[in-house]
Amino acid sequence: MNISFADTKLHKVFVDNNLYIKHEYDNYLAVNRRNGKNNRFKEWIFLLRVNLAYLILNRNSNKEKISNHTDKIPSLNKPESEIANRTPEIHFVQNLLQYDIISFDVFDTLVLRPFSKPTDLFMVIGNRLGIMDFAEVRIDAEKQAREEQKVKSGNTEVTIYDIYEKVNRMTGLDASVGVNTELEVELDYCFANPYMKNVWRILQNQNKRFVITSDMYLPKEMIAKILDKCGYQGYESIYVSCDYHCSKYRGGLFKNVRNDYSDKMIIHIGDNYTSDVQSAQKNGIDAHYYANCHSIGKQYRPDKMSYLIGSFYSGIVNTYLHNGHKKYDPYYEYGFIYGGLYVVGFCNWIHKQAIEKGIDKLLFIARDGCIYQKVYDMYFNDIPCQYIYWSRISNIKYSIEKQRVNFINNIARNKASSVQAVTFDDVLDSVSLGCLKEKLKEFGINGGAVITKENYKEFEDFLISNDEIIRQVYLNQERFAQQYLSDCIDGNCKVGVVDVGWKGTGPLGIKYLVEEKWKLKTTVYPFMAGSLAYEVTEAINEVQNDTISAYMFSRLDNADLCDFQRYHNKGTNCIYFELFTQAMHPSFAGWDDTGNMMFAVPEVENYKVVKKIHEGIMDFALVYKQFSDNDIYLRNISGRDAFIPFQMIVRKLDYIKKYFGDFAFARSIAGKQSDQSIETINMILEKIGV
């Protein structure tokens, strides 16, 4: 006779006695057996290691997340949503049609929760109850209740009422208030798994009969409420461990199902390999393993985020991408997984800043502001906002008297190190200074020659000596800029100007023009996703004196992230970061002499990709909003947390190279109009040897 490990005393000692160990061990089995790896020896080694961590080194489940930091890498071979490799619902049900009775597990099968672990919901319950450290109390209470039950009756099945009696003893909280709050939170956060919902509906219309089988401390009335809220109706019975005092895990619950439908063909579907598959099969019930969304996604979620937001973020991404209902392309996923949290966090931070500073209107600067404004609009309607056309080049042109160094750097030094060969004539044309081309000869510069590291200094001298002419050219156009920005500001006293970063020349330029040069009665507050400069001293004063407010990092806050962005990948990280916030229109180049708006060369080959990234970000923002509607504090996303998913994706550049290598990207202003070819990310990386 074969005795399985699950039936042995060793299993009881090493697995069953500790819920966390059991959870980790089950997850390990599920992931490995799903991948066809069934190595008993390795399973034992794993079990010993987990026992060592929990019982001897005294790890608890939350600490694990902090101590077990690893540099995870994203899914490189295919989009993450294809990893689970689930068959479409319509094919999945084909194998179920032969059965009379379909038994469904509830949590992580029919119903999903946007937290990476079920116990993480206790933090939200604690917040609603206003009890500090409630999550630990709640976990401990359940443990105590189960231990007590085991002594009393030999099984560990307890109800939520038993658990809250213990909570009451520890905190004085009225047990019924605790129970109701927990149910309320479950009802708020549980949502129907779209994959299983379709399976359910297909089978229901094929006149299949359903039962619900769950190992849970919520009694069947509460489970029924959750199922009802998620749109699951028409099942015959609910078998829940706390009502029957036996579990799926030990098989007793399945015996009940088997007895009640003794002459029927039954299949059970669930996400726990041991409880839902092995145990069902042992009790004469066929089983289908529906791999847990969180177990699949866990390997791709970063470790270092703050615990609550990290769990919420991971829960949203895992349940969205891995339920099997839809598959997404890598561009959509880039927006959803790596950009969504930062844009949501930034918009909520902007709103908070705007309220604190009494801002009357927010202006989102092109092109990064395009997606920011859409997400901001989705969340808020109390402070008006507008998307405005502005850019580095327009900024430099109309505040040239303050920006001479920037101007010269951008069109002389930067062009000399550009991937694309650019001539002096090209550069002058691109910044509306064609009138100076004739004068190049006077400086001994050949207009048709390419700007190089060897000759750009002469060009700098040329620009400096023609400073007056340049100023005059831009002065003619500046009145159109003034009219446009005045219209946008619309007489408001305090205006927030939003940009992605980095030195803040865009918003600072507007601030200078509005406050100092044009003397409009408006104060401008620059808000940026991150503050970063080429040299550590650049823009330091503006950050230090609060002229600029930065969300994720600056030289003052999260300076390590600032360094990562600046130095990792040889300073190219801003390119990948700005992939999130491209827009589907060309860069704004200012006004011509007759007041027409001018735009640079449109990178049309990017627009499909940009659209997909935006869709991903917008969908993430929508899902995040829906789930956080009842607990707004979940929208307080720290700048560090917002940055971590991006940090993970660019730690190594394989993902970027694979999917965005051909992305056309003009790193510096003044593209070559006569040629119109643009640098791609791969070209840039090749040139700098990354």
């Binding site: 319509i90 509906r201 297909i202 219309n205 094929q206 006149n207 589907m584």
Partner: protein
């Protein structure tokens, strides 16, 4: 002895009828894949009609063309041997759905067989099956094309059988066989047996006037389940708004229509659609489908037969644009005077017939051109530009489904002076079962006539589409809004054209390298 090979219920029905009508006294065997028997176990009861029901394990292996003749022969020899027969045991072999492994086996080994079309009229439309296979089974596509199994051109095919009444663009020599009519010709005792085997009820009470045949599009991986639901929601809203539908799902279509369309009757009994006329208690006036070939066999039992066609399957998401264009034409009293260039004529005709459009008592003499160029090519653009320059009072409505902006010409920017953008706003009015895309879409009108321009600019409409769960709306734009929309259009048109040239350049470079 005769062998009939069947893959679907329709094929089984054909095999039974053909056997009874042409080989009543002869020995015959029916060969079916086990998946069919698994879904419809009663097929094994046909042993009363056939001497044996041979069940084989369906598969279509991945192997090279050079090996396929031997490997397929070995495979089927082994399968048939367990029933004590081989291909050479049969005087005639009738193969329904030749584009399966058995067809490949017979054709590659030059074994004579009779080609029976896969569905009514499909012999005349070989591209349909190619399209289906091309989406999911490249190997199958390659073999069946190579061995002439789509157009029945394989040299070993001795005869072709199909329904000649179905319109076809191809002139193919074939023996006519009508499955529905033939059912009436077989003896009553067999007819009842057939109905019993197929689980067809004696009769079905129906309450409606349109019978709609669905297809298992998601099951065939032709689209996702969400898309399948959306195509039916769209179809029912635009073409059958005030009709009482009776939905007959394809035997393999598992979509939950009862939930999605509770106002309609769903016939859940699984039987071939060819048996419908004999089981419906009440005669329905119209039969409709998107592309089910089943409609062709039973169309004569109804007053009207509506088939939306294969192009609709690709373009149904643009039905709103077609609909709004026709509403604009209606507002110009020109619904009777429409000319189409590149549009899906079937959609336009059916929308006019079933979309509740009114013909005007004072029809205009102006023509409304509906234009939709699926893919931009220089020549087509020239035709369109010539048309725009030629007309004066007429109106051109650009559906612009592929956003080709065929009216865009860099050197003729004045065309934009006569362009009127018509944005279509879609608002979600339901949270459940919502599958539509609510992003704004725009059609463009062109006219030099001030009167028509004013009428188009003032055109407004609003309609709720209950199955899709959206509100469709066109609002009159202010002068400023219109200018912005035109600018957006110009920008997008420029971008699209640039992209087109970039792609072409890339293709050229690829070819030369």
């Amino acid at each position: 002895m005769v062998l009939f090979h069947a893959v679907t219920l329709y094929h089984v029905l054909f095999s039974v009828e053909y056997k009874l009508l042409h080989y009543e006294q002869d020995k015959a065997m029916l060969m079916v894949p086990h998946s069919l028997l698994e879904s419809f176990p009663k097929i094994s009861e046909l042993k009363g009609i056939f001497n044996e029901v041979i069940v084989y394990h369906y598969y279509f292996p991945e192997n090279t063309v050079s090996d396929v003749a031997k490997e397929s022969k070995d495979y089927f020899d082994k399968e048939l041997k367990s029933y004590g027969v081989g291909f050479d045991s049969f005087n005639e072999i009738y193969v329904c759905n030749s584009s399966e492994y058995i067809g490949v086996c017979l054709a590659s080994n030059n074994i004579p067989f009779v080609f029976v079309e896969d569905g009514a009229g499909l012999l005349g439309k070989p591209d349909v099956l190619k399209l289906v296979h091309g989406k999911q089974q490249n190997q199958k596509l390659e073999y069946c094309t190579l061995f002439g199994l789509y157009d029945a051109s394989a040299p070993c095919i001795t005869r072709r059988i199909g329904n000649k009444l179905v319109k076809s663009n191809m002139d193919i020599e074939m023996e006519h066989f009508d499955v529905v009519k033939s059912l009436e010709l077989i003896q009553n005792k067999y007819r009842e047996k057939v109905k019993a085997v197929f689980n067809a009820p004696d009769y079905i009470e129906v309450d409606g006037n349109v019978l709609f045949l669905t297809e298992h599009l998601a099951n065939q991986d032709l689209m996702s389940l969400d898309e399948q639901i959306l195509i039916y929601q769209t179809t029912f809203d635009y073409f059958f708004e005030n009709q009482k539908l009776v939905i007959k799902p394809h035997p393999r279509d598992l979509c939950f229509y009862e939930d999605l369309f509770p106002q309609y009757q769903v016939i859940r009994e699984v039987f071939p659609s060819e048996l419908i006329p004999s089981v419906l208690k009440k005669r329905l006036t119209t039969i409709a489908t998107i592309t089910s070939t089943g409609i062709d066999n039973i169309a004569t039992s109804f007053d009207k037969a509506v088939s939306l066609g294969f192009r609709y399957r690709e373009e149904y998401i643009f039905t709103d644009k077609y609909y709004i264009a026709l509403k604009v034409a209606e507002s110009l009293n020109a619904i009777h005077n429409i000319q189409q260039i590149g549009t899906d004529e079937k959609i336009v005709d059916l929308l006019i017939e079933y979309g509740g459009f009114k013909k005007s008592y004072e029809p205009t003499k102006n023509t409304v051109y509906l234009v939709d160029v699926a893919e931009f090519v220089d020549g087509t653009a020239k035709t369109i530009i010539d048309l725009l320059e030629r007309i004066n009072d007429d109106v051109v409505l650009f559906i612009n489904t592929r956003k080709d902006y065929c009216f865009y010409d860099y050197y003729k920017k004045n065309i934009w002076n006569y362009i009127i953008p018509i944005p279509i706003i879609k608002t979600r009015i339901r949270s459940e079962d919502f599958y539509s895309d609510c992003s704004e879409s725009v059609i463009y009108a062109y006219t030099k006539s001030e009167k028509n321009r004013t009428m188009i600019e003032r055109f407004t409409m609003q309609r709720e589409l209950s199955n899709m769960g959206i509100k469709l709306e066109v609002k009159s734009l202010s002068e400023y809004e219109q200018r912005i929309k035109v600018l957006e259009g110009m920008l997008e048109a420029t971008e699209k054209r640039l992209l087109f040239y970039l792609d072409r350049e890339k293709q050229r470079n690829n070819k030369t390298s």
